[in-house]
């Protein structure tokens, strides 16, 4: 396992391991940010700084990359990330009202996280399963042909799983 002298805690050991998956060059900035986000769900300021140092890139540049691409999140998301599709097919088949319903049921707006830290609601451009419109993803699972009722069932199942 690769080590750096600065690693004192287990957390920074873990980050070090992720960093060493890629070459310490500016071209690694995006894959590094992706790897860190895949691991922690978001990119903390500390980790952003570590990417900058490791990739020999100014912190301002890493920040500008992290804010340019819509994939990157700089705040901690809920346990389940809900991505409601706002692609064309979903739009003409009522994605807006599904999104509103989700907001109502979860008590949050798009880009917010529920108080219990369970769900973060995001809207995405297109999930590419237009024939199942309106669609959403929770984590890596895609759900299609959504209706308000189906949304309730799906969200309910996640809530129940959590209670168990």
């Amino acid at each position: 396992m690769p080590h750096s002298n600065s690693s004192i805690t287990g957390m920074s050991n873990e980050v070090d391991e992720l960093l060493h998956l890629f070459a310490p060059v500016p071209a690694s900035v995006i894959p590094l940010l992706q790897e860190i986000q895949a691991h922690y769900g978001y990119i903390s300021e500390t980790n952003l700084t570590r990417v900058a140092t490791y990739a020999h890139t100014p912190k301002s540049t890493v920040y500008s990359v992290a804010t340019f691409y819509s994939q990157f999140r700089l705040t901690r998301p809920g346990r389940y990330l809900i991505r409601i599709c706002q692609g064309t097919a979903c739009h003409v088949l009522g994605a807006n009202s599904i999104c509103e319903h989700l907001e109502e049921q979860l008590g949050v707006k798009v880009d917010e996280t529920t108080g219990d830290g369970l769900f973060t609601l995001e809207s995405v451009r297109c999930l590419g399963c237009c024939s199942l419109a309106p669609a959403m993803m929770i984590g890596d699972r895609t759900y299609g042909r959504l209706t308000r009722g189906r949304v309730d069932t799906i969200i309910g199942a996640y809530r129940n799983r959590e209670e168990e």
């Binding site: 060059v25 500016p26 071209a27 690694s28 900035v29 995006i30 894959p31 940010l33 992706q34 990739a55 890139t57 500008s64 990359v65 340019f68 691409y69 819509s70 994939q71 990157f72 706002q86 692609g87 064309t88 097919a89 739009h91 003409v92 088949l93 009202s97 509103e100 109502e104 995405v124 451009r125 297109c126 999930l127 590419g128 399963c129 237009c130 024939s131 199942l132 419109a133 669609a135 890596d140 699972r141 895609t142 759900y143 299609g144 042909r145 308000r148």
Partner: protein
């Protein structure tokens, strides 16, 4: 009747989303319970997304019986009646509906028929034979000549002749050159590339190796959207398998040619579909386009000669090499050879993935293949080409789908998104949707794209909110022209297309919003309200229960009534009313 030997389950993203994984495991355990010597196979998307989850029961004489909308509870019957006793369950089979009849499948020839994760399956369908032929019989110049004479044009949207593009890169000095496969399918409403990558990844890889050989590139990248986890997973497996089989790596198939492929995951920026922005992104930077020339063929990734082709373009290559340029050029029209894959979606019955010869009319696609509109609604328009494209009205739907004819309507061919719109679609709202997209995805480099699209979006939002003024339309047209002319890349240059085509073909809807303050399609909330028809209302109270803001209450008579000052126009009462008593005005 011949006995059943295989059961195939469509397990692309669309199938999985419709519940195909449970169908697969239920089949597996049911077959095991009966101790049946039947092979289960995971296949990609055959295109009939409207029938997902799909199961093919295949017999020893290679007859395929396709079951659609398969529910776990149907599987017991299919196994006992069909697999065990050879009697197909007719009422669960999908009816012949003309979906495949008018298609020509080149790019999609294996999608839904092979297990994409098994190299031998691809090889069983002539996979990598084109590569073998290229490496043993053809010089790079001969490969380029073959692709040139096939007439293949870039399928990513711009339609530049592929062979000519290869020639540019081939003429540049090596040895460091790059071949990039653009799989950053960003158009909302398009899923052609996803389906090909999930259903037949080796085909794209073979196309890449041939292209790399032609231009003399030792290194390749696939730039693929992060939103496509399954496609990325399958590509990784396919690259590893191709490497083990000697199709990738040093001295491919004993030749002097070496080539490797790396996957780069995009991070969610539509503009990265543009070549120079994509290159910047691979280099780890913000994905902003730069001025051309120099073109990537001269100075691309890391300043080296680079050739970028779209997934569908590359997926055509093995077929062209195997069947010859002449056979390919036999399909399509004079200026648009071959086929085009379309993602058919929106208000259409047969929503899915289709491949048609160029030159087929939109009407034929919508009605003969697509099965017409849902609920027999009136066909209003198709939106083709995504945010860069435009809306073609139903009255022009006899137009043949080829590069020239589509461009003449004011839309563009684009990458293959084809969204069908009906009478319930508001054209101003759809236009606002696309401008919202373009505005958010503008990288901000060019003033007109950054601010022009913002001002256009504001005008469209005003119109949808019932606050439009007559000058808005003229201002939109003027701004559209400026944004088109003064933007550096395709995003800005084409962003006004949705506005220009809808103003051209649906001016009446703009006028209705601005002058009459009404939305003919009953979509724009500021311009509609809900009313209860006392004669139809049975006072059941369902709407009252459903209303999220308590705007509905018992009226004076024996019917419910809506308090318009509280109503948020969400439409839930309209949806839930069993008597159709709630009307949109």
């Amino acid at each position: 009747m011949s006995h059943v030997t295989e059961v195939w389950v469509g397990l692309a993203t669309c199938g999985v989303a419709a519940g195909a994984e449970l169908v697969y495991s239920t089949f597996e355990s049911s077959l095991a319970r009966h101790n049946l010597p039947v092979t289960m196979k995971r296949v990609g998307c055959i295109g009939m997304c409207y029938n997902e989850p799909l199961v093919d029961v295949v017999t020893a004489d290679e007859n395929r019986f396709t079951y659609g909308h398969v529910r776990p509870e149907d599987i017991g019957r299919i196994v006992t009646e069909h697999v065990l006793n050879g009697r197909p369950v007719n009422e669960l089979l999908i009816p012949a509906d003309g979906f495949f009849e008018h298609q020509v499948r080149i790019v999609l020839e294996n999608c839904g028929l092979i297990d994409p994760e098994v190299l031998e399956e691809y090889q069983g369908h002539d996979g990598y034979k084109a590569l073998q032929r290229v490496l043993s019989e053809l010089t790079p110049a001969e490969v380029i000549e073959e692709i040139k004479s096939s007439g293949l044009r870039g399928r990513g949207g711009a339609g530049f002749p592929t062979g000519v593009k290869w020639d540019f890169a081939a003429r540049e000095p090596g040895p460091e050159k790059f071949l990039i496969c653009n799989a950053d399918e960003g158009d909302p409403g398009a899923f052609m590339d996803r389906s090909v990558l999930e259903g037949d990844p080796h085909r794209v890889i073979e196309g890449m190796i041939i292209a790399a050989y032609a231009i003399g590139a030792p290194h390749g990248y696939i730039y693929v959207r992060a939103e496509y986890p399954m496609a990325i997973e399958r590509l990784k497996k396919a690259i590893a398998a191709a490497g083990r089989a000697g199709f990738l790596g040093e001295n491919i198939l004993g030749s002097d040619f070496s080539f490797d492929i790396k996957i780069k995951t995009g991070a969610g920026a539509f503009v990265c579909g543009e070549e120079t922005a994509l290159i910047a992104s691979i280099e780890g930077k913000r994905g902003t386009p730069r001025r051309r020339p120099p073109y990537p063929a001269v100075s691309g990734l890391w300043g080296k000669p680079t050739n970028i082709n779209n997934v569908e373009t590359l997926a055509n290559i093995p077929w062209i090499i195997r069947h010859g340029a002449k056979e390919f050029a036999h399909y399509g029209t004079e200026d648009s050879r071959g086929t085009k894959v379309f993602a058919l979606a929106g208000k259409i019955n047969h929503s899915g993935l289709i491949e048609v010869p160029m030159g087929m009319s939109i009407n034929k696609i919508v009605f003969d293949i697509g099965g017409g509109l849902r609920e027999n609604k009136e066909f209003k328009a198709v939106q083709i080409g995504g945010p860069s494209g435009g809306c073609i009205p139903a009255r022009l739907a006899d137009v043949p789908v080829d590069y020239k004819s589509i461009t003449q309507t004011g839309a563009i061919m684009g990458s293959g998104g084809l969204i069908v719109l009906d009478e319930d679609t508001c054209m101003v709202d759809v236009t606002r949707f696309f401008l919202d997209f373009a505005q958010k995805e503008s990288c901000g480099k060019c003033t007109f794209c950054r601010i022009g699209t913002k001002r256009m979006l504001e005008a469209l939002t005003r119109i949808c909110d019932g606050e439009g003024v007559p000058e808005d339309v003229d201002n939109l047209i003027e701004l559209a022209d400026k944004v088109r002319v003064y933007s550096l890349c395709g995003l800005g240059q084409t962003a006004p297309n949705p506005v220009l085509t809808t103003v051209k073909y649906f001016r009446n809807e703009y006028d209705a919003h601005i002058i009459d303050k009404s939305c003919p399609a009953h979509v724009c909330r500021a311009l509609i309200h809900y009313e209860i028809d006392p004669s139809a209302c049975k006072n059941c109270g369902l709407c009252t229960k459903q209303c999220p803001v308590q705007a509905i209450s018992q009226g004076k008579g024996d019917h419910q009534q809506i308090d318009q000052s509280i109503c948020i126009k969400c439409g839930q009462c309209h949806e839930v009313c069993p008597f159709g008593a709630i009307a949109i005005q």
